[in-house]
């Protein structure tokens, strides 16, 4: 295989070729490092590229040569969202206030990647503290959408999605508090999964909103996401909200979806409230075509109503800022991170540091959350939002009585242009209208490519949701739907992604390159 071919395949395929000795991990890793060097100046998916990647790959190759039994994904490179703590790389969560901070420990999911002998390539860009839907709120400049460098890659995990879409990494880790894995997946034509709350450890994930955050996989195929999910998932005694259950293999579920006839008779619930006003016509068109394909494949399409989803965004923007205002209080310069160079009392130093270290969106949400938790307002805001949350959970319960999985578009629109929604936070917030309910209820959600919108030629995404703890159902159905769609198109969506680099679209579009 040529170096270019090594980046334009799947993690599952790489794992197979590595296991047979056809390629080495050093070759695979070098191919991706070369690709990063070639295109990341334009895409800016990475905040940090690991200096240890090749050495890690070399050790895997040595162990394989010595006959050591290795896990399935050993030697496969992976990109890591900067929200996750890594002992050997800075972990900034996209914020100036943590610039250069190297944690003294690995997040549990990162430790599990290492135990699975995967090769961390680097840390990916994100909106500051995962607050945003475009990466425009990163303190280190935005990531560009590989499909159109003038457009946003989604957020907050635009870096991981763009890295995978631009073939800089076969797979990546993201985190999803209100859609930060699924919405970037939709606008970059990639796959992303927000697992059941408690299914993947949060230990070492720099908290945004503790009751909503989940770490999950980003990939180009459903099977690849499943393989990564199997590596990172499962109980962690360091996270008290981690579910102690044994989980089935997600990869087996995905393989069942690819080989069996799993769509026949499956009840697919179409959430009435998650389409219509505010949804782009091309998104709606691809969505309904997909539903028709599903019906033709034997799925039973049922309409379900989730009447309280209407209040989800409002409730989310009370709960998230409330928790975030408290979670971000620790960034005070006393123990770690940036310290503003001022004299005065400790309060003066704390205040100056937070003023200089946090960006405008972070400050906006801290103020919102502080207000929502204040005495006299708590019941009206935080209290009411928690009640809405319960009602949304009940909506899901009722819907899952009628359907095995629920579907909606992953995002209401394709990728918008930089700056388009920056001055209108509410419009930005509404971009997560489809993804937020799953976080509020703790149920798993998957986004997968649903074709290009006819009007702009940009990717659209389909969202699948399953009851809590039934993540395997998403992988089984998701892999089958992916196969169905690709069969219909005659190719995968990602294979249609534009070329980047010296001979590619980026030059043609006259991009100003990486704003590092």
């Amino acid at each position: 295989m040529s170096a270019a071919d090594l980046t334009r395949t799947t993690a599952a395929d790489l794992a197979h070729r590595l296991s047979t000795g056809e390629v080495s991990s050093v070759e695979v890793t070098q191919a991706h490092l070369d690709r990063i060097a070639a295109v990341d100046g334009d895409v800016h998916a990475f905040l940090h590229v690991s200096e240890n990647a090749l050495e890690t790959a070399r050790q895997v190759d040595a162990d394989r040569a010595a006959g050591v039994a290795l896990p399935e994904l050993a030697g496969v490179p992976i990109a890591i969202k900067d929200v996750l703590c890594t002992i050997d790389m800075p972990s900034t969560s996209g914020s100036k206030i943590l610039e250069g901070w190297i944690p003294p420990y690995d997040a549990t999911v990162v430790a599990r990647l290492r135990a699975a002998r995967m090769v961390p390539l680097g840390k990916t860009n994100m909106d500051e503290f995962a607050m945003g839907s475009s990466t425009e709120h990163s303190a280190y400049g935005p990531t560009k959408n590989p499909w159109d460098l003038e457009r946003i890659p989604g957020g907050s995990g635009g870096g991981s999605a763009a890295a995978v879409a631009a073939f800089e990494a076969p797979v990546a880790l993201g985190s999803d508090t209100g859609g930060s894995i699924r919405q970037p997946g939709a606008v970059t034509g990639t796959v992303g999964v927000k697992p059941t709350y408690g299914g993947v450890s949060r230990y070492g994930a720099i908290a945004l909103a503790s009751s909503l955050d989940q770490v999950g996989p980003v990939s180009r195929t459903v099977l690849d996401a499943a393989l990564v999910h199997d590596v990172i998932g499962g109980h962690d005694p360091r996270d008290a909200t981690s579910i102690p259950d044994q989980w089935p293999s997600m990869a087996e579920a995905a393989r069942r979806g690819l080989t069996g006839d799993v769509l026949k008779g499956i009840r697919v619930g179409v959430v009435k409230e998650l389409e219509g006003e505010g949804f782009q016509s091309g998104v709606k068109q691809r969505y309904h075509e997909t539903l028709d394909l599903l019906a033709a494949a034997g799925a039973e399409i049922v309409e379900v109503s989730c009447p309280h989803f209407e209040y989800a965004v409002a409730a989310y923007y009370l709960i998230l800022p409330a928790e975030a205002s408290s979670n971000l209080a620790k960034f005070d310069s006393v123990r770690f991170g940036m310290r503003a160079n001022v004299t005065g009392t400790v309060e003066d130093v704390m205040a100056a540091t937070r003023e200089a270290g946090f960006g405008p969106e972070v400050k906006r949400r801290i103020i919102l959350g502080t207000y929502a938790l204040s005495a006299g307002y708590y019941d009206a805001y935080y209290g009411s939002a928690q009640k809405v949350r319960t009602l949304i959970q009940q909506d899901f319960d009722a819907a899952f009585e009628k359907a095995d999985i629920l579907v909606s578009p992953s995002a209401p629109t394709t990728a918008f242009k930089f700056g388009e929604k920056l001055e209108d936070p509410l419009a930005m917030y509404l971009n997560d209208v489809t993804t937020i309910p799953a976080n509020l209820a703790g149920v798993p959600g998957m986004g997968l490519p649903m074709g290009l919108a006819p009007e702009d030629g940009l990717p659209t995404g389909l969202q699948l949701m399953a009851p809590a703890r039934h993540d395997a159902r998403l992988y089984e159905a998701g892999a089958a739907i992916e196969q169905l769609l690709e069969g219909n198109w005659g190719h995968s969506l990602w294979s249609q992604a534009p070329e980047l680099g010296a001979n590619g679209l980026a030059t043609a579009l006259g991009s100003n390159g990486g704003a590092r």
Partner: protein
């Protein structure tokens, strides 16, 4: 306030009714901290002196770190709640108390707010004269301790005026139970005494439960005393102050007395009391203002999303209830009866803080009266002279051994006192001291008879008197014999021999 400006205590009580309230923080002696696996400095076996060595990312609140509840701390808290007569909540919840302070690593404290683990209790407290007072308990909740700040530079050691401050996070995350009383009415003149007795009772309870080292001087047990006064006949409560930093039983008593006298002096002059925290100063015996405190302090409490609710099973609660030690007041009543002590004798033991020592000495085989006599007598005297705690000087087992030597006749009281002194001086066990110092009573009748005969021969007048039936005259001869034997004779046996030989 200068001493002279304080109102006379009796006068204050004439004009005002004191209302008390206490917040007692108990550091639990679990091996690890409340929410992390860092070693707990409040565990008896840990001697942690270097700053910032008993810490993990969780104690420092590093980004990404998460708390996990210490199950042993929960069990301890339930036991304490039960011992305070509280109900145990089937489901209780941790909450975040948000405020910025450099000793608080996350800038919020994980505590419990509207759903504490234990609530609605009643604690029986016994005053020195045996009067029983029921103290109503509002709640007992779990929380984590903060770190420790040392303010460097400036003259006061306080944050104001300091050049810089050092933070030690070793204490950050130490498990605490905070016990909050309801307002306590009707203590009247005995308010200071009740304050001391209340804290002392909590100390006894946590010691008996084995859940805290309970050493006030180390901060294992900390009392904040709330005091307010209201004019006689007024229904509404007065403005309260909260005195912190009260680190001994005696200080609790003194601080409450001081606040009553201080507030009365202000109110009598038509002044108003500022609602504030105040600091107790052991050296001056006075309180000084801390930060103003109002009920409107907004800590923006909300349920801690990183932790699940605490839901102990009914079986666990039942198990812990069965395992509870006897309540201190009930235990005292039982012991007094079992030991056959007079009121005075028993109070002497209790008020000297020697109940545990006497109990343990009796358990080691000594008679209750002998155990009492040694602890409240010779040992207390030496402790007093050395300004030490009696319990720190000698073990109950050694005291019991000495008592046994006396009762078997191997030692007389005078020799036994020397043995006590030797053990306290670190010369080893009583047996070691006896043999090293050669203190054994001479019980060889041959040597004694020779000494008795010699003494009688030297005092023929006494011999006459004894023979005439004036037995008390024997004392002079006994004294001479004891002197001749260097004190190492059993006085009772000498007396027997004197009478025996005189009759021959």
């Amino acid at each position: 306030m200068a001493k002279a400006e304080l109102m006379d205590f009796d006068k204050a009580l004439e004009l005002f009714e004191p209302v008390l309230g206490f917040e007692v923080h108990v550091e639990l002696s679990t091996q690890t901290k409340m929410f992390s696996d860092a070693p707990n400095p409040a565990f008896g076996g840990h001697e942690i002196t270097e700053p910032n060595t008993a810490i993990t990312p969780v104690c420092l609140g590093l980004p990404g770190s998460l708390p996990v509840v210490n199950e042993t701390a929960v069990r301890y808290s339930i036991s304490l709640g039960l011992a305070l007569g509280c109900q145990i909540a089937p489901t209780s919840r941790f909450a975040r108390k948000n405020y910025f302070y450099p000793d608080l690593a996350k800038n919020y404290q994980i505590s419990q707010y509207d759903e504490p683990i234990a609530f609605e209790g009643m604690l029986e407290v016994e005053l020195e004269d045996g009067t029983l007072v029921q103290v109503p308990i509002e709640r007992a909740h779990m929380e984590e301790d903060a770190g420790k700040l040392t303010h460097v530079g400036g003259s006061t050691g306080r944050i104001q005026g300091a050049e810089y401050s050092l933070v030690d996070y070793n204490r950050a995350g130490v498990p605490l139970v905070e016990i909050v009383t309801k307002p306590i009415y009707g203590a009247e003149h005995r308010a200071p005494e009740l304050a001391k007795a209340y804290v002392s009772t909590i100390r006894d309870i946590v010691r008996a439960l084995g859940i805290s080292e309970a050493r006030m001087e180390r901060g294992n047990l900390r009392c904040d005393a709330n005091v307010s006064l209201r004019p006689r006949g007024q229904a509404a409560l007065g403005t309260r102050t909260e005195t912190k930093n009260v680190n001994s039983l005696r200080s609790v008593e003194r601080a409450v007395r001081y606040e009553i006298q201080r507030q009365a002096a202000i109110l009598a002059k038509g002044g108003t009391i500022t609602q504030e925290t105040r600091h107790w100063h052991e050296d001056t015996g006075a309180t000084s203002p801390g930060r103003p405190k109002s009920d409107a302090d907004d800590y923006r409490y909300f349920p801690e999303p990183d932790l699940l609710p605490v839901a102990p099973t009914p079986q666990l609660i039942a198990e812990l209830r069965v395992a509870l030690p006897e309540a201190p007041a009930a235990r005292r009543r039982r012991l007094k009866e079992e030991w056959g002590f007079s009121d005075l004798e028993f109070r002497d033991v209790v008020n000297s803080g020697l109940l545990v020592e006497v109990t343990d000495t009796v358990a080691a085989g000594a008679s209750p009266q002998q155990a009492r006599k040694w602890w409240t007598g010779e040992i207390a005297r030496i402790a007093n002279a050395q300004n030490a705690e009696p319990a720190a000087l000698i073990s109950p087992a050694h005291v019991a051994e000495i008592v046994a030597l006396v009762e078997s006749g191997s030692l007389n009281d005078r020799l036994a006192r020397q043995v006590v002194e030797g053990v306290i001086a670190g010369e080893g066990s009583p047996a070691d001291v006896v043999s090293a110092r050669g203190l054994e009573v001479v019980s060889d009748d041959g040597a004694l008879i020779a000494a008795v005969d010699a003494a009688l021969a030297q005092q023929p007048d006494v011999l006459e008197k004894i023979r005439d039936g004036k037995v008390q005259a024997a004392g002079a001869v006994i004294g001479a014999v004891m002197k001749a034997m260097g004190g190492k004779a059993d006085a009772a046996r000498v007396r027997e021999l004197v009478l025996e030989r005189a009759a021959q």
